[in-house]
């Protein structure tokens, strides 16, 4: 008994030392972070935790918590995980600090590509890119002799063949859960048809020909999807893929790794990634580019900020990326793009390239208006023209209330 305890204690202490050995220094300032909860953030925060005195909160609802938590004085978190979509409220409220000094002090290993500059000041450090791109079942495509689709018309042609062959339950999977996800589908499709979201006077320009085309394409998708598509979010589509129920989807690159997770997936090695399909000839891939990265709060002491940034750099180092190569499309040095990254890279390097998600106050309002008004169109309660008018009106009402429109 005594021996057993001793052995156990020895093992635990060994674990402790090896954990600390993974970090180059020991962190003495208590630090906290709030970020999204997907695989890449888990990898990064785990790497940071190795230095000690660090508490990570991984929460998919981070976007609703972050603005208020960072506005508190002192801020409730030191490090924030943001994307280009969620950095706006923090920038607007001035609750994150410029990082130029800290990058000069600790950022030797950062590549210039990672530094997110707003008006010349470094406000965030990006760690990965994310985009919705084409994922498809290579085995099914080979069996049926279908080439990799490059446009939505080709996607529909392929879906037609797959549907006729009846090899999967539903040919296409789509992240069309009403609300944010559904709105994002429109935000992907609409610029693909050459549409712009806003006029110069902050009014919205979605009520246009490109808007009609984007709606028509989204409606066409419904012919090939699960009838319950209006409740399916990214996780649901990912699971449908893993269970072999769908064959094509324009899904987030950050979900790619899960396809080859043998514990969950029945299609290991069968899913391939390609650039997001274009909506029209000569257009950009119908998707938007996103990055995820870290910010440091303003309302903390300079010492804490110093320690927080140093710790974040430790989390974003080469060792972490080498250990978690397939968890994301990393921007960090040491990343070796595998087959899972092909689609995202092809999307980002296409000419013309897909636009970054336009992160502005107006876009937030429009995104909500889209998420609330699009379902009525897809359930058939309202036609396309009336839907675009409804989106325009909903945006105008909330933009006036938010003060961005007079």
């Amino acid at each position: 008994m005594y021996l057993k305890k001793l052995a156990l204690a020895g093992a635990v202490s060994l674990m402790g030392t090896s954990a600390f050995a993974a970090c180059a220094y020991e962190n003495t300032v208590p630090l906290k972070s709030l970020s999204a909860g997907f695989e890449a953030w888990k990898a990064v925060t785990d790497a940071m935790a190795e230095c000690g005195n660090f508490q990570a909160e991984l929460d998919q609802e981070f976007r609703t918590k972050q603005p208020a938590a960072f506005e508190a004085n002192p801020s409730l978190y030191h490090i924030g995980g943001v994307s280009n979509g969620t950095i706006t409220p923090l920038l607007n409220a001035g609750t994150i600090r410029p990082l130029d000094d800290l990058v000069a002090k600790y950022g030797q290993n950062l590549s210039p590509n990672q530094l997110i500059r707003v008006d010349g000041q470094i406000m965030a450090v990006a760690m990965m890119v994310n985009t919705q791109h084409l994922m498809y079942r290579e085995d099914i495509f080979n069996d049926l002799g279908i080439d990799t689709p490059t446009s939505w018309d080709e996607v529909f042609a392929a879906a037609e063949k797959i549907k006729a062959a009846g090899v999967v339950d539903h040919a296409i999977g789509a992240t069309m859960k009403s609300g944010w996800n559904l709105a994002q589908e429109f935000v992907n499709m609409y610029p693909g048809f050459g549409g712009t979201f806003f006029n110069d006077d902050n009014t919205t320009a979605v009520n246009s020909e490109a808007g009609m085309k984007a709606l028509a394409t989204m409606q066409k998708t419904l012919e090939f999807t699960d009838p319950e598509v209006l409740v399916s979010d990214s996780t649901y589509v990912q699971q449908q893929f893993q269970q072999g129920k769908i064959a094509i989807s324009n899904l987030w690159a950050s979900r790619g790794g899960a396809m080859n997770d043998a514990n969950e997936s029945t299609v290991v090695g069968k899913v391939k990634m390609a650039a997001a399909p274009v909506a029209m000839d000569g257009g950009a891939p119908a998707t938007t580019l996103w990055w995820d990265g870290i910010v440091i709060a303003s309302n903390i002491t300079d010492e804490e900020a110093d320690a927080a940034f140093r710790l974040a750099m430790e989390g974003l180092d080469e060792d972490m990326v080498k250990a978690n190569n397939d968890a994301a499309i990393w921007l960090v040095k040491g990343y070796e793009p595998g087959p899972l990254a092909e689609g995202a890279i092809a999307t980002a390097t296409a000419t013309p390239a897909a636009p970054p998600y336009p992160s502005t106050t107006q876009m937030g309002l429009l995104h909500t208006a889209l998420g609330n008004e699009l379902p009525a169109f897809l359930t058939g309660e309202r036609d396309a023209a009336a839907t675009l008018v409804a989106i325009e009106e909903a945006y105008t009402t909330s933009a006036k209330e938010a003060g961005v429109l007079q």
Binding site: P89, G94, N113, Q114, D119, L182, A344, S359, T361, G403
Partner: protein, 342 residues
């Protein structure tokens, strides 16, 4: 009881009610007539976004709030806007337009009216079902043999113990695309079943869930009431030749009437605030409720905007709705109460 003693007895709860019910209510009432906006300016901002290998920088005109130098927070202005927020929620101009054009269905495309339609229907359809099912379980348990009663009561109370949002999530998981029940039914019938693809199937599930969840509450109250039924009256009814249904109709139900009113009151108040089902069933595309509408206005988007004024207006409207619904049963209770005093 002396007034002073009475005062000190109720003072703590009056204080709590003022602090946690009256004060927020007044505040929401005032906010529904105000709009608070940040002071914004247009500035040219250069933003750089990483591509895979290089960065793309774009310069664009952005509308950003002005940060106050002293407080470090965004400057805001608050103005009185009268009934503007109510108009934004109700959209009466569109309603009249639809009415005068005779296209009444169009009214249901406006969020508020769509939510009101469902909320009212949900409340009024489940009310008789809850009372009926509750009464039936109570009668069944009352007539069951003594040894069975304990376990039967325990089992029938179980749905009521479950947290509503968890309960609705469980139903969702049972019936969603490849849930256990749907998969079994699909195998059995050989048809593809999609319960969450149509508004009416979702609504049916919601009614079913709510009745299943709340009926035990009605049951417990009725069961207690049944213990106080006057046995002499019941026996004389039997001697008079009243059958089982007539005894129920003329003796038991009149005796339980105050309890039925009580359950109706509670149920109306609870159901009008239907919310968990919407979230649990993810039914926003098809069915929304008034409480969900308020929640949606309050949820900040990615840029941190929330429609506080419209949320305030929408919650005031919800409250007015509950008051209107409660007038009928409350009047009856009041009349009974007055009658009882004589």
């Amino acid at each position: 009881m002396k007034f002073k003693t009475f005062f000190w007895f109720v003072a703590p709860s009056v204080f709590m009610m003022l602090l946690f019910i009256a004060a927020p209510l007044v505040s929401v009432f005032l906010q529904s007539f105000q709009v608070t906006q940040p002071v914004v300016q247009q500035v040219e901002v250069e933003t750089c976004t990483p591509g895979f290998l290089t960065q793309t920088c774009t310069t664009e005109l952005k509308t950003v709030p002005i940060i106050d130098e002293v407080t470090g927070k965004a400057q805001t202005t608050t103005s009185w806007v009268g009934f503007q927020s109510y108009q934004n929620v109700l959209q009466m101009d569109k309603v009249w337009e639809a009415v005068s054009d005779g296209r009444l269905r169009d009214i249901l495309q406006i969020d508020f009216w769509k939510a009101l339609r469902f909320t009212l229907m949900f409340t009024l359809v489940t009310l008789p079902l809850v009372i009926g099912v509750g009464l039936m379980i109570a009668l069944a348990v009352n007539n069951a043999s003594k040894s069975l009663r304990g376990p039967v009561i325990f089992v029938s109370l179980l749905p009521f113990i479950i947290t509503p949002v968890i309960g609705s999530l469980s139903i969702y998981w049972l019936f969603v695309g490849d849930g256990i029940l749907t998969a079994t039914l699909e195998r059995w019938t050989g048809q593809d079943i999609a319960m969450f693809a149509n508004a009416w199937t979702i609504e049916l599930l919601m009614y079913f869930y709510r009745v299943w969840h709340v009926a035990p509450f009605a049951f417990v109250i009725f069961y207690a009431g049944l213990q106080t039924v006057n046995m002499d009256t019941l026996e004389s009814a039997i001697i008079d030749g009243a059958n089982r249904f007539e005894r129920l109709r003329y003796v038991i139900v009149p005796h339980l009437m105050p309890l039925i009113i009580f359950i109706a009151l509670i149920h109306l108040m609870d159901c009008y605030r239907v919310f968990d089902e919407i979230i649990g069933f993810r039914s926003q595309a098809h069915v929304i409720s008034l409480q969900w509408l308020t929640f949606d206005f309050l949820t900040p988007d990615d840029s941190g905007n929330r429609a506080i004024s419209r949320a305030a207006a929408s919650s005031m409207l919800t409250m007015i709705g509950i008051v209107i619904l409660l007038i009928l049963p409350l009047r009856r209770t009041w009349r009974d109460h007055k009658g009882g005093a004589h």
